[in-house]
């Protein structure tokens, strides 16, 4: 008999970033008992890294904005493979979710008349992002954390879930271990919300931390939930590229929102040379107009640097490939040039972009008020994830919900900057609300003790095994492979090689061993995370091979165009009865006429 401690909660929320915290707050407010599991310490989740802001059509800066514009911006950015219901709910509910944060203690930057200030961001027609300098994510997670600790939620810090447990079709609990002591915990729960974030650790160059190993996606998949759109990964155009140790760290889109421009090694603003047709009408065709837009001129159109992230990232890759890159394989992002326009430019930059100023100064010896930055694409976000119902956020497994980055649908093929933080709030709330309702309507069922014991033995295997392979080594090999073969520009033969490589890595992972004991042992933790990384990587490869077109975050060198026949469906990944991974194309349900009309009106 394995040793473990048992905890009972009506609703168990796994993940304590923005979505998890918001879900837990909502469920607790509905009067059910809530457990909140965080892989790290509370308040350290990746939400803290979000910089630019949260998109909500409040219309404080430009009163032409409303939910319909936000809705169509989201669909256009996502290339129309979004879950339209989620895009609708998101656009309608984001304003209330943002205002609610203020009631919980958030202090956003202000307009002159004392309301929440909003800034410009890529793909958003009007200034829409509520923000606090360039540390909006910190403001959001701290607000939710400081509010959440007074809501009677049981917080389990530094605890990692290894398995979801089911009885029949329904989810009924989760098995986890605590990092500090390496002891197992059995959570019995009537409903579970997954809010575990993304999969960035599958790549070598990423803005994500160690936590983002696709846990939620892999746990859900193992439990029989479908994954959707796993080929759509966002490579953020501006990550740091130099020095090597900081490669991948995010440089906020806010730099471009404040007037920053992208230049190649000839000093050309290359983005002007490649504006997609469906964005031509709303994009500036000269630098002067672009500058006026960033300074709030309502009659100006946005500069091409603020086109969607997928497009900007690909343009940067092209510049580098064709020999017009910066010395360390990126391009230049220049904000210091605004001193030609503003008398107090240096001070203005430090005020508007304090953490960027700090980050470059400390990590790269670059003063961004005097010198251009060197930047290049970095793996940032996965649009795909667990398939959920748009209203309730429930997966196809009864009682299992997902919200935030771990869920799929809202962003389609490409996410607009700023739509993530609002996604966390809108759908975190909904997941918490519906999970609480499910918990009230359904009795608890006990997990199978035999299965619990089996899974504990499985999790401990890397510690028992001697002289196996290092988990760090296998993880590094996976990251290199995904970066090289399933990265920002993809082609069939490379991805087929990746599929073969993945099979070998999976085989190696069965022989992984971790030295040391169960107490706070990162080697062992890496060995456990590895399984999830391999599962989500396989799903990414399979889906990316199947989508023989280019759309949003998924770009194929061998199929560089968008194809209408791929525009009508999503890719679903399921676990077949024999344990193998299966892909099916699922038609997107037709949009109601009312929404269709809105899309037409806004064209």
């Amino acid at each position: 008999m394995a040793d473990y401690q048992t905890f009972d909660h009506d609703v168990l929320v796994i993940g304590a970033g923005g979505a998890g915290l918001r879900a837990a707050i909502e469920a607790a407010g509905a009067g059910v008992s809530v457990g909140l599991v965080c892989k790290s310490l509370l308040g350290k989740a990746h939400t803290v890294m979000a910089e630019g802001g949260m998109a909500a059509a409040i219309g404080n800066v430009d009163d032409r904005d409303n939910w319909k514009v936000h809705f169509t911006d989201t669909l256009r950015g996502g290339q129309y493979v979004n879950n339209w219901r989620m895009a609708e709910l998101h656009a309608k509910e984001a304003p209330d979710r943002v205002k609610e944060l203020e009631a919980w203690g958030a202090l956003f930057d202000r307009t002159k008349d004392g309301r929440i200030l909003q800034r410009n961001f890529g793909g958003h027609r009007y200034p829409r992002l509520a923000h606090v300098g360039d540390r909006t994510g910190l403001e959001m997670i701290r607000t939710l954390q400081d509010h959440g600790i007074h809501q009677g939620i049981d917080v389990h810090m530094e605890v990692t879930v290894t398995t979801l447990l089911k009885r029949g079709d329904r989810v009924c609990g989760a098995l986890a271990y605590d990092r500090q002591q390496g002891q197992f915990r059995l959570f019995r729960a009537k409903a579970i919300v997954l809010a575990t974030g993304g999969v960035g650790r599958a790549y070598q160059i990423t803005s994500n931390s160690w936590e983002y190993s696709g846990d939620g996606q892999a746990l859900a998949y193992e439990a029989g939930a479908a994954l959707m759109d796993m080929e759509f990964i966002q490579f953020h155009p501006t990550g740091m590229v130099w020095p090597p140790s900081v490669r991948g760290i995010l440089v906020t889109e806010g730099v471009r929102g404040e007037g920053g421009v992208l230049l190649n090694n000839r000093g050309e603003r290359f983005m002007f040379g490649d504006i997609p047709d469906n964005y031509k009408a709303q994009t500036a065709d000269n630098p002067e107009e672009g500058w006026r837009y960033t300074q709030g001129d309502k009659n100006a159109r946005r500069p091409p640097e603020l086109l969607t992230r997928d497009h900007v990232a690909r343009c940067i890759v092209r510049e580098v490939r064709e020999g017009r890159g910066s010395p360390h394989g990126g391009v230049f992002l220049d904000i210091q040039w605004i001193k030609e326009k503003l008398p107090n430019a240096a001070e203005h930059i430090r005020k508007k972009l304090p953490s960027m100023y700090h980050q470059f100064k400390q990590l790269a010896d670059i003063d961004i008020t005097k010198q251009p930055m060197e930047i290049g694409p970095t793996t940032h976000y996965i649009m795909g994830g667990i398939r959920v119902d748009g209203d309730s956020q429930m997966s196809n497994v009864p009682g299992l919900y997902a919200a935030g980055e771990s869920a799929a649908g809202l962003h389609g093929a490409n996410r607009l900057g700023g739509n993530s933080l609002s996604d966390l709030l809108v759908f975190g709330k909904r997941a918490g609300e519906y999970a609480a309702r499910f918990a009230k309507d359904n009795p608890a069922v006990a997990p199978d003790a035999g299965e619990v014991n089996e899974r504990i033995t499985e999790a401990l295997a890397p510690l028992e095994r001697k002289n196996g392979e290092s988990p760090y080594r296998i993880q590094q090999d996976l990251q290199t492979m995904m970066q090289d073969l399933v990265g920002i520009v993809r082609q069939e033969d490379e991805m087929v090689r990746a599929a073969e490589g993945l099979a070998k890595l999976k085989e190696r992972a069965t022989r992984v061993s971790a030295a040391g004991n169960r107490q706070y042992n990162p080697g062992w933790h890496t060995a456990i995370d590895l399984k999830n990384l391999l599962t989500v990587s396989e799903a990414v490869i399979l889906s990316a091979i199947a989508r023989k077109e280019s759309r949003g975050g998924h770009f194929r060198d061998d199929y560089p165009e968008k194809k209408p026949e791929f525009g009508g469906h999503n890719h679903l990944i399921n676990r077949a009865a024999d344990g193998s991974m299966k892909l099916v194309a699922q038609p997107i349900p037709p949009m109601p006429d009312e929404l269709k009309r809105i899309v037409e009106e806004m064209k």
């Binding site: 350290k44 202090l107 931390s209 160690w210 042992n521 990162p522």
Partner: protein, 251 residues
């Protein structure tokens, strides 16, 4: 390639010793990179916390050559690599293993501070009107990433272990943020004096010096709070008005 040696505290609570690891160093490397490299090469079970690796989450606090710093923001070229660089856990909290300490006390302390309670919304749509000048002050405190380095250097906690009587600079900053939020309606001055030990701080400013967010902890948070506490508790005129009107005077 150049190599450097890192002397890292290894071992569990109550024990542990410095163990030397030599690893390659490359341009731009930070201490956390060296720790990761050592983990991958020769010490797979070396325990350390980290998340964002960009100075935004405050997880990787440690004492590097005796200085409390974030490992992810300490570049190797700021250190003397001709001798081993020592990396030790924070000392103001119970040691757990290697570079990891038990910081749970901080989370308990925060829960004990009276929570934010806003006044009624100013506008019909449930929102408030605040000007940038009004929020500037509290926004400075909200930059805090909860790395707890200020707690680590505070002698009241580090040397005198008064964790039961004093909430430390981090939570004085937290309280200041609540007190200076323009729409908050609570008054935390009594708890600051009676429960949270603000009097223990003798403004040596050690906390301000180590703050990676450059929050002026002492000048902007603690001293103004001390002044408010004194005005509130010892102002005879206010007390008299309070007695007569039955109202507790505000800050």
């Amino acid at each position: 390639m150049a190599k450097a040696t890192f002397s890292i505290l290894r071992g569990e609570a109550g024990g542990g010793q410095l163990v030397d690891y030599t690893t390659e160093v490359t341009e731009g490397m930070v201490v956390l990179d060296a720790v990761h490299q050592i983990q991958a090469e020769s010490a797979g079970d070396l325990a350390c916390r980290w998340n964002c690796k960009a100075g935004k989450c405050g997880s990787c606090s440690a004492e590097i050559d005796g200085q409390p710093r974030l490992m992810c923001m300490t570049r190797l070229n700021q250190l003397d690599l001709t001798k081993p660089v020592t990396i030790e856990p924070m000392k103001a909290f119970p040691h757990f293993k290697d570079l990891v300490t038990d910081v749970s006390w901080n989370y308990r302390v925060k829960k004990g501070i009276t929570k934010f309670t806003p006044r009624k919304p100013d506008a019909a749509d449930g929102t408030w009107r605040m000007h940038q000048e009004d929020v500037d002050r509290a926004q400075e405190f909200r930059k805090c990433i909860e790395c707890f380095l200020c707690q680590d250097v505070c002698h009241v906690l580090r040397d005198h272990h008064l964790h039961d009587e004093f909430i430390g600079p981090r939570f004085l900053v937290y309280t200041a943020n609540l007190e200076m939020n323009p729409i908050d309606t609570e008054n935390r001055l009594d708890e600051l004096r009676k429960l949270h030990g603000i009097g223990y701080c003798n403004i040596t400013k050690c906390c301000t010096k180590v703050c990676p967010e450059e929050i002026k902890i002492t000048d902007n948070a603690i001293i103004p709070l001390k002044e408010r506490v004194v005005d509130h508790a010892f102002d005879p005129l206010a007390k008299l008005i309070g007695l007569v009107t039955g109202k507790i005077p505000g800050p």
